[in-house]
């Protein structure tokens, strides 16, 4: 009893017969694959058509099933599903004869028919040699590690606890809250930071949450389902494992350093310092001890060292200007800016509110930055208003410098072990634009200012979104031993790479290049592939000089397909 491949050619209700000649196809395929049985069916996407094909006599079932139908982006995937149900365990494959041949060559039926023979032959040749990699079973620990207890990390932790996951939250500081602890009021609704933090802190006071303060993460390694984090706590090295990770380690405020004579003149402070002062003044309901304040925006932002807009500084300046005005209406506040950035209706309203409160604005150009005057003590700021073209000198007894947020330098150490890509500035990138909160390696998620400077409210939103993603990952892992490979990329599974240690030369090219960190060095120096990380792109196989790393689905099959179209006869 022999097993032969079975080819179904869909005529799409006969509409393809104009371009594809049935006799040419039958003859051509029979010449190259004499054992293949070819069936023409009117519409493979209709479930009945496959059932009507009787089991081939004398055969113990097909050795493989090739469906020649339409593109996988039309009905091809549905056709594959139906064929999979009709012939379980065979793993049918698809060849696109409609979009890929009949419809683009409809004016040249002879060439189209010859091409269709080639395409079916390529499919058959590939099917004959293609091997299947075993699906890795990924055990997923039902726990999540959240790095960073700022608003994003707190929100993620709280949401995960409510969703029933076990969460470990670590922060390098003693107090949760991150940068929010240094801020009194939040834009745009002037809520106090306690109002935002309070409920978040209540959420993490949950039995499923383990909060580790004063803990510095040093490195994270391991695979999806079981990541290992190493950290320093009370001077000791500790480690723990978790099924999924949420990186919410935030960003750092840039310091004004010595620019605009800060540190030299008294009365020159940073926006963050003003926050602290305002918090004290508001608590005591005391009037400010200064009468004329000038803010300078975009210090160290949108220039060579930090070539980006930090998003939060303009709304923060507006918010603080309004706060000053409401403490004492006679305080003069002037904001020197390079364009006020207040997108959206809520922030635009904040801008209008500041104008209504009597805050004054002047635009400066980066070529002519404001000049700070004073001797030991700040006396005035000279500026050339870029809009009116007039130069003016504004008397001031307080100068507030708005600086951007910058990436934390330790983010890169964490990112490296997890194959999280950093942009040219140093912020972490998700899989933009489709899955912005997910890192390329499964089970790793990003939220908050580690990605980009973000408002506190938005950090909370991102934290919750990342929590839902992480919970989905755990859930997929729980569902009977975790077949997580389909979570990675929708669509058919491309297989995973594997290494033949006998022929591996230990050169390490695959290890250096793997985009998911799946290729690693084993104890004997040869490469190993982590099934939980690999997504079958095949980069490792294409750089391997000794052919030791292969994607079983791919490498031999591509060669076999090429052979079918090569004209050389001695192949």
């Amino acid at each position: 009893m022999s097993r032969a491949p079975l080819v179904f050619i869909c005529t799409c209700h006969g509409t393809l017969s104009g371009a594809l000649d049935r006799k040419t196809l039958e003859k051509g395929i029979a010449e190259r694959f004499p054992d293949a049985r070819v069936e023409f069916v009117p519409s493979l996407c209709r479930s009945g058509d496959l059932d009507r094909v009787s089991a081939p006599a004398g055969l113990e079932g097909p050795s493989g099933v090739l469906v020649a139908a339409c593109s996988p982006f039309s009905r091809g995937k549905a056709v594959l599903d139906l064929a999979g149900k009709r012939f379980p365990g065979v793993g049918p494959e698809l060849v696109d004869l409609r979009e890929g041949c009949a419809w683009v060559h409809s004016t040249d039926p002879e060439a189209a028919s010859a091409k269709a023979v080639d395409l079916v032959s390529m499919g058959l040749a590939a099917m004959k040699v293609r091997k299947r990699s075993p699906r890795p079973r990924i055990e997923v620990e039902q726990s999540v590690l959240v790095v960073g207890a700022g608003p994003a990390g707190l929100a993620a932790t709280g949401a995960l606890a409510r969703l029933g996951a076990r969460v470990t939250l670590v922060d390098r500081l003693a107090r949760p809250g991150g940068l929010l602890n240094q801020i009194g009021k939040l834009f745009p609704h002037n809520t106090s930071s306690e109002e935002l933090l309070g409920p978040l802190l209540q959420e993490i006071a949950h039995p499923a949450v383990d909060f580790l303060p004063k803990t510095q993460i040093t490195r994270i390694q391991g695979d999806p389902g079981r990541f290992e984090a190493h950290f320093i706590r009370d001077g000791q090295d500790v480690s723990l494992s978790a099924g999924a990770l949420i990186l919410a380690c935030g960003a750092l405020p840039v310091l004004p350093e010595n620019r605009y004579r800060s540190g030299e003149l008294s009365g020159v402070i940073s926006q963050l310092e003003l926050e602290t002062r305002l918090k004290k003044l508001e608590a005591a309901s005391a009037p400010p001890d200064f009468g004329k304040a000038v803010f300078i925006q975009c210090l160290a932002a949108r220039e060579d060292d930090h070539p980006y807009c930090s998003t939060i500084c303009c709304p923060t300046a507006l918010k603080n200007a309004i706060r000053l005005k409401s403490l004492a209406a006679d305080v003069e506040v002037t904001i020197l800016h390079r364009g006020i950035m207040t997108p959206g209706k809520v922030l635009e309203e904040l801008y209008r509110k500041a104008m209504a409160a009597g805050v004054r604005f002047a635009a400066y150009s980066p070529e002519a930055p404001p000049e700070v005057r004073g001797n030991g003590r700040l006396s005035s700021v000279a500026v050339h208003d870029a809009l009116s073209g007039r130069s003016m000198e504004i008397p001031a007894d307080l100068l507030v410098l708005s600086t951007p947020l910058k990436p934390r330098p330790d983010t890169s150490a964490l990112a490296a072990g997890l194959n999280v890509r950093l942009d040219n500035i140093g912020f972490a990138c998700g899989c933009e634009p489709m899955r912005p909160l997910a890192a390329p390696v499964q089970g790793v998620f990003l939220c908050g200012a580690v990605r980009w400077p973000v408002y506190a409210e938005h950090a909370v939103d991102q934290g919750r979104a990342a929590a839902v993603k992480a919970a989905g990952f755990l859930e997929a892992g729980r569902a009977g031993g975790a077949d997580l490979t389909s979570l990675a990329l929708p669509g058919s599974w491309p297989g995973a790479a594997s290494v033949d240690p006998q022929s591996c030369s230990r050169c390490g090219q695959c290890i250096a290049l793997c985009p998911y960190g799946a290729c690693r060095r084993g104890d004997d120096g040869t490469a190993r592939v982590s099934g939980a990380r690999c997504r079958g792109c095949g980069l490792c196989a294409s750089v391997c000089p000794s052919g030791a790393v292969r994607v079983p689905e791919n490498n031999v099959a591509l060669r076999a397909m090429l052979r079918e179209i090569a004209p050389r006869m001695d192949r």
Binding site: A114, L119, G491, R563
Partner: protein, 151 residues
């Protein structure tokens, strides 16, 4: 096993060429499908081979194809910065660009290896690219396979 003529009734004067197009299934394969839906008429002398990622195409495979008498090979991947496999197409581009240089060194036209990063994901883009490539190949003599003898 005999090979049926690829383009048996090709109009006179038009050289029969064959080209293998490796198309990333996240990008250029969509373009190929879209070209069909849009009924864009194309010369029939190319064959599309779907791949998971452009990075999976070995330089060996390209040389082998040319040595076997295929006139041209195209590797069609996602735009740089938009790879579905975390930038895997960047090292692929470096490697295949180097291969183009090597082709030239051994005496083959570098245009026999067409690289596209994100310029074939719409039907009309795919169609334009294929048409241009085929016209270029038609103007070239058959591959001198002696130049690639080790393969």
């Amino acid at each position: 096993m005999t090979q049926p003529a690829l383009n048996p009734q090709a109009p006179e004067g038009r050289k029969e060429v064959r080209a293998a197009l490796f198309a990333c299934r996240w990008c250029a394969l969509l373009g190929a499908g879209r070209a069909g839906l849009d009924r864009i008429h194309l010369p029939a002398s190319f064959r599309v081979i779907p791949v998971e990622c452009a990075a999976s195409v070995e330089p060996d495979l390209v040389l082998r194809a040319l040595a076997d008498g295929i006139d041209g090979v195209a590797v069609l991947g996602c735009h740089l910065g938009g790879c579905r496999h975390n930038e895997a197409n960047r090292p692929a581009r470096l490697r295949l660009t180097l291969l183009q240089d090597l082709l030239e060194i051994v005496g083959l036209d570098r245009r026999r290896l067409l690289l596209s990063w994100g310029t074939a994901h719409e039907g009309h883009q795919f169609g334009g690219l294929v048409r241009e490539f085929m016209t270029e190949l038609e103007a070239m003599p058959p591959v001198d396979t002696k130049l690639l003898r080790p393969f």
